[in-house]
Amino acid sequence: MSEDRIIKEKKPDPKWKDWGRLGKWEVAGWRIIERDEGQRSDQLAPRTYMVIDRPWDVMYTHSYGRVSQFFMGLLEKKLMGTKCPKCGDVFCPPRAHCWRFECKLTETEWIEMPMEGTLHSYAIMGFGGEAFLDQLPFILAYVRVDGANTMIAGRLAGIRPEDVECDTRVKIKFIDEPTGNPMDIYFEMDGVPEHSKPEEQKARIREKLKPIEEWVAERKASG
């Protein structure tokens, strides 16, 4: 693999690593490097480049729009969905207008959803954004809340990841202090899953998750 060979350098103040959000597109640091470059990998030759560090970030002030009521409901620990008065389709995540051509963007009506559903599919997350690293490995689940024609994404708790299987029943729970974010709800396995994987496959998954569990434990221990 080709790599940069530093010729000269001014290191950025370490604050920029964490404080990128304060960045204003200034040249915080730079390196003059030599690197083997070229149009094809069999035609590489050393060239010299200047590489700069240029922090920049932004705050979005975002409206949840006409489905704000879903998020306001989360704050009150109520799971809200919408229902089309014409065709009866139920949306959770909600839509403010129906999706059927024949309903001609009929405005939907708010309903409170039951706190139960069925796990449709899932992934066992072994890596993720900074905010989620300490929760690894967690289960990203798509759940059909009872009665809904859409499925909502969230985390599934209360079960070893290798024991999860599609088409099993789940309860929907709220965290203690909701913040108006879909993370306010999570799913919990309701009893023993109706379907399960072969024991050999479960063992393999357990084995594959070990290094991730150890990595997270070390991460937590070191603060």
């Binding site: 470059e37 149009q39 094809r40 499925m151 994404a153 299987e165």
Partner: protein, 435 residues
């Protein structure tokens, strides 16, 4: 009414994929264009009357309207420039837009270029940028990102059809090892030109089970270009044009969770209602559910119809498809209707998608081996199609090992989101093939 003109690819070039590339975006595009000018000496930038450019993300480029920079760098002002952005299907959609401009007579010679620069931010930030192309109110805030979404899609497929991690790993091995003789490919440079095995894939770190790091494509930088000419002027540029015979474009719901009951698919595939495995809870629309890419099937059917193709397995000689994940390549075999649903794994086990099989797929290395600089990806794969169809692989790669013998018809597949936008194109050595 004006006749629709036939359109051909009359040249192309690639600036190799790696992360990072230290050339800037305009210089990478220029390298790709320079290669096309050298390989096709009759091409002349002064004769271009239209430029279509594809890149995915302003966030990656750190530059809005970045299409204007390569445009003026190539000296193309004051000719028209159009940027086409459609997620991962951006490059395929750009080719389609360029095709439409040439076919309609708006242009006689259009240059299509594409690039991406994914290495200016950390890999974690890069994955976050890509995740911002999912629903940022519902799917991203719960810890979702693309590997997770694709994992949830193949998990359902595994549950329905018994697809396994080994099946997927075979695809990763095929594509990465095919890339070893491709001097434009990223994986060989990253892996010291060494082949990998199924065990290497299975042993690699879990990103989102069942997907491990070697099941996933690469973050890349690089560029590519193709030249599209109308039938009126093709003869000026090359004796070996490659003709567009079929094109399709389709879409699906942005949130995978909105797909299983989507009324948009009601009644489109009547056989699928009874074919759904009986052990599973059948959604209102069993195809695509979240186990397949419905937009792919729609786009492919449109392209097949336009090209007069009734049996893609027999009539198409090779495929360049969007293997962002090896799992997606297996699903895509099914959605391109190369086999029945649930049987994608059989094709890889039988060896049919290897270079000497019936339907070679991604012998360029695909996104896993060649690389995935998003805005360039399907344009670069079209250049590979051009080389395949004109028998140039031996000349352009380090060897002719991945030349598909006697290739006459190829398919290029450009895929976005979780199959959210899909462009399919069929390229043919013959202008008017009679099947």
């Amino acid at each position: 009414m004006r006749m629709v003109k036939k359109v051909a690819v009359v040249g192309g070039g690639i600036s190799r994929y790696e992360k990072p590339r230290r050339e800037n975006i305009a210089e990478m595009v220029a390298e790709a264009v320079l290669e096309s000018l050298e390989d096709y000496p009759n091409l002349d930038l002064s004769e271009v009357d239209n430029h279509v450019l594809s890149y995915f993300s302003d966030h990656f480029a750190g530059q809005l309207a970045a299409s204007w920079i390569p445009n003026d760098y190539l000296g193309l002002t004051p000719k028209g420039i159009t940027r086409v952005e459609n997620g991962g299907a951006g490059p395929g959609t750009a080719i389609r837009a360029a095709y439409a401009m040439v076919a309609s007579g708006l242009s006689d010679l259009t240059l299509v270029t594409g690039f991406e620069k994914q290495g200016e931010v950390s890999s974690a930030k890069a994955n976050e940028f890509i995740a911002l192309a999912s629903d940022t109110d519902f799917d991203f805030p719960v810890g979702g990102y693309y590997t997770g979404y694709y994992a949830a899609m193949i998990t359902r497929h595994m549950y329905l059809y018994g697809t396994s991690e080994e099946d997927m790993a075979k695809v990763a091995v095929k594509n990465r090892n095919y890339s070893l003789d491709n001097p434009y490919a990223q994986w060989p440079v990253e892996n010291d030109f060494k082949p990998i095995t199924v065990q290497d894939v299975l042993d690699s770190r879990v990103v989102a089970w069942p997907l491990k790091i070697l099941d996933c494509c690469l973050l890349s930088e690089g560029a590519s270009c193709i030249w599209l000419a109308s039938e009126d002027v093709v003869h000026k540029y090359t004796d070996e044009p490659v003709w567009f015979s079929g094109l399709g474009l389709a879409s699906d719901m942005m949130r995978p969770g909105d797909r299983p009951d989507n009324p948009g698919f009601a009644g489109l595939f009547p056989d699928e209602y009874d074919a759904y495995p009986s052990h599973a809870i059948k959604p209102r629309e069993p195809y695509p559910d979240i186990a397949n890419f419905g937009a792919c099937r729609i786009a492919a059917r449109d392209a097949y119809k336009m090209a007069g193709i009734t049996d893609p397995y027999k009539q198409i000689d090779f495929f360049e498809i969007h293997d962002a994940y090896d799992s997606a390549e297996l699903q895509t075999y099914e959605d391109l209707e190369l086999c029945k649903r649930g049987h994608g794994k059989d094709l890889i086990h039988e060896g049919q998608t290897y270079v000497d099989g019936d339907i070679p797929c991604n012998v360029s290395g695909g996104l896993q081996g060649f690389g995935h600089p998003v805005g360039s990806t399907a344009i670069g794969q079209t250049v590979e199609c051009l080389w395949q169809l004109t028998g140039r692989i031996g000349e352009k790669h380090l060897s002719g090992k991945t030349q598909v013998d006697g290739a006459e018809v190829g398919l290029n597949h450009s895929h976005a989101g979780t199959g959210t936008a899909l462009a399919v194109m069929i390229l043919d050595r013959e202008k008017d093939r009679r099947w």
